[in-house]
């Protein structure tokens, strides 16, 4: 048996043991259908089989996993969990299918409506219900750690080889592995009264969750709409979380769900020798799609990349590594054993996870979150403050113009001249490019250095910052009573705006065109990214913000890049000291 197979078997066994332990003593005997009231979608009807899954300890653990991680420390009312979100996803996916069935029964899509029957609806509802069952404590934050562990990398590769290059999110892989585990299948077959059980294949449900299209067994048809409903550009997951996250946080973001539901459809579309059943948006439903995309972008700005949320997550990340350092967590599957509440309950642990670098106990790290005793921002990196040094573009323009004139004079091939002119036109308008590329490369190195840093490198980097800060303190005759875990450097990744890549617009004559080529939502996303992206340095209350600001500036300055007015973005800074430092 090779290493990859051994790792896969070990991983499967661990998942199976986890599921088994959660479901073993659970009885579904007295379950019955229910109507559950939801703050976003109102009353939602759940079938008996769904209640049997919802009431299981495996599903109930989602109540203790906050949907937006630790954002509730910034938005106090954003305390909703993965549990509500999963129920909401079922509600909205049902509405989507309902509208499609209604529309097709009125029009000519009989073949579609035949396929979107009750069995199909149940299948999609099941996928929506369990799509987040693999989430671990702190939601997406923990997956940024276990997703990089050696064992998980091997599993990712396994999925990529199995499903033609797919790279699902780590929690999606865990969801897939949970529902396809033998323990879950046994539970499902023996204790869940799913109608027409023979129609269900757990691997298909898993495929919908990880974003793989389901093909029928005869190889003639594929059903990409099933996957698009659960893991696509405008999937039920997104429709729910955009509404729920903004509503719970108290943000005035919205999109026209009613219009959106009227404007989606499922159509049969020839695709590489098969017929694909595709989810499409009618031409005049674009506005609703735009609203949804913008709401999502704004959620990044308001919540996910809010500076206070970022620092909370950075402190929480130290907790995760601390749990690994003290060997409470040794394997990616161990993450499943803990919920947010379980982590909080470790607040009494008197063990020093990083004794070489810090005298802090595990309980100190956890208490910082519990008491919301968070480090403060001492530096902000953004596009506005990063300037390229000494650049005079007129010289470059003149040089390029001369070269072009020279080329045209000497080249006799008209086609080559045309191509050269095209290149010239493009480059002339982006004349800063060469200089910019070099400077940008430096910026890129700075940013990439922090974004792709593993924990070891991050500790080294914080240590370097710490030593510089110590020097500054000592030069001023001050006592150092902090350590490197009082310093956090966060340069987040750009916003994720995948919307529009795989969606299709349906014109009034039935023709389809990729949404991306029709309207450049992605380019709006790029522009949003360029203007809204921020990186930060934070320090705990033990450290003077002005001194930390001075050291932080040094991190991002070099011969090609200078910082302009960086102090304008920091609160509680001592301007006299800043002036004094710049004179030095």
């Amino acid at each position: 048996m090779n290493d990859a197979q051994q790792n896969f078997d070990d991983f499967t066994n661990r998942i199976n043991s986890f599921v088994k332990a959660k479901l073993d003593n659970y009885s579904t005997r007295h379950s019955s259908s229910k109507v559950i009231h939801d703050t976003v979608w109102g009353s939602i009807y759940f079938n008996t089989w769904e209640i049997q899954i919802i009431d299981s300890p495996l599903f109930q653990r989602l109540r203790d996993i906050n949907q937006v991680g630790l954002a509730s420390l910034t938005y106090p009312t954003a305390r909703h969990s993965r549990f509500e979100h999963s129920l909401g996803t079922v509600a909205i996916v049902s509405k989507m299918l309902e509208k499609v069935r209604e529309k097709n029964s009125r029009a000519c899509g009989l073949e579609v409506v035949n396929y979107v029957n009750d069995d199909c609806v149940n299948k999609v509802r099941l996928a929506a219900l369990v799509h987040d069952i693999g989430h671990c404590f702190y939601s997406h934050l923990s997956e940024t750690v276990y997703g990089k562990m050696n064992e998980f990398r091997a599993i990712e590769k396994y999925f990529s080889d199995l499903y033609n290059g797919v790279k699902p999110k780590p929690h999606e892989i865990l969801s897939y592995m949970i529902i396809t585990s033998s323990a879950f299948r046994d539970f499902f077959n023996q204790k869940v009264d799913f109608p027409n059980r023979h129609t269900i294949n757990m691997v298909d449900i898993g495929k919908m969750i990880i974003g793989v299209t389901i093909n029928d067994s005869n190889g003639k048809d594929s059903y990409s709409f099933l996957t698009s409903l659960i893991n696509g550009d405008f999937d039920a997951d997104k429709l729910d979380y955009v509404r729920r996250d903004s509503h719970s946080a108290g943000l005035a973001l919205t999109y026209d769900i009613e219009r959106f539901l009227y404007k989606i459809n499922i159509v049969r579309h020839p695709s590489g020798g098969r017929t694909d059943y595709k989810l499409v948006i009618d031409l005049n439903g674009i506005t609703a799609a735009e609203e949804l995309t913008f709401s999502k972008l704004m959620l990044f700005s308001y919540i996910y990349h809010h500076q206070k949320v970022l620092i909370t997550e950075s402190v929480a990340k130290d907790i995760i590594y601390a749990l690994m350092a003290i060997r409470l967590i040794k394997h990616p599957c161990d993450f499943l054993e803990y919920t947010d509440r379980d982590i909080d309950s470790l607040c009494t642990k008197e063990v020093k996870p990083f004794p070489r670098y810090s005298s802090k106990y595990l309980k100190d790290f956890i208490k910082a979150i519990r008491d919301r005793n968070l480090p403060k921002r001492c530096f902000e990196l953004n596009r506005r403050i990063m300037k390229i040094r000494n650049y005079d573009e007129s010289k470059d323009r003149a040089k390029m113009m001369d070269e072009c004139v020279e080329y045209i004079k000497t080249e006799t091939d008209e086609e080559k001249v045309k191509q050269h002119l095209e290149y010239f036109a493009v480059n002339y308008s982006g004349i800063q490019a060469d200089h910019q590329a070099k400077a940008m490369q430096l910026k890129e190195e700075i940013i990439a250095q922090y974004q792709n840093m593993d924990f070891k490198k991050y500790v080294e980097c914080r240590h370097k910052f710490y030593l510089e800060l110590c020097d500054l303190y000592e030069s001023e005759g001050l006592t150092v009573d902090f350590d490197l875990f009082d310093i956090h450097i966060i340069l987040p990744k750009s916003y994720n705006y995948t919307a529009s890549q795989s969606s299709f617009i349906m014109f009034n004559n039935g023709d389809l065109e990729p949404l991306d080529s029709f309207m450049n939502l992605k380019d709006w996303g790029d522009s949003f990214n360029a203007n809204k992206w921020r990186g930060y340095v934070y320090v705990s209350s033990k450290i003077d913000i002005t001194k930390a600001f001075k050291v932080a500036q040094g991190l991002f300055v070099d011969s090609s890049i200078e910082l302009k007015d960086a102090h304008m973005f920091v609160k509680n800074i001592n301007y006299d000291s800043i002036r004094k430092y710049s004179e030095q």
């Binding site: 990089k148 290059g165 350092a325 990083f354 080559k416 590329a437 400077a439 890129e444 593993d454 994720n496």
Partner: protein
Amino acid sequence: MDNVLEIEQLGRMFSKPKISAYDFLKGFIAELAINNIVIIPRSQITSTLFDYSKNEKYKPLFEDIGFNQYGDTVTSYDIEDSIANLQVLGMIGKLNPSFERIVIYLDKDLSKNICDSFDEDTRQRIESLVRDFIKQLNRGQYERCSTKF
């Protein structure tokens, strides 16, 4: 202290792909620039790279790149994200008004520096992939790409 893992030991519990999606895309455009290809159609990049990702020879280059297929449509967040980052960082641009083509702004020296930053094995694989890509270009299997003379 014996019960606690050292940072070094913790570090060994993690790994990362040999080449990131962003670095691969950067190497790809740099190698194109070295070969004088400076304008490429944007629409076909993902599906083209998807085809190459299935080739055993090129698989190691795609370790950090995920693809999704919806029927005959292939998408890749990693490729789109890397292209966006390359644009933000000034290495490429997109031609107005419909952004259907990507313009590579790298000059040869910078491109060479980028390619030299990869280990020999990775560099050879990228070179070979770009050679194959250019062969396909020459066979007219893609929309027109412009070259710099």
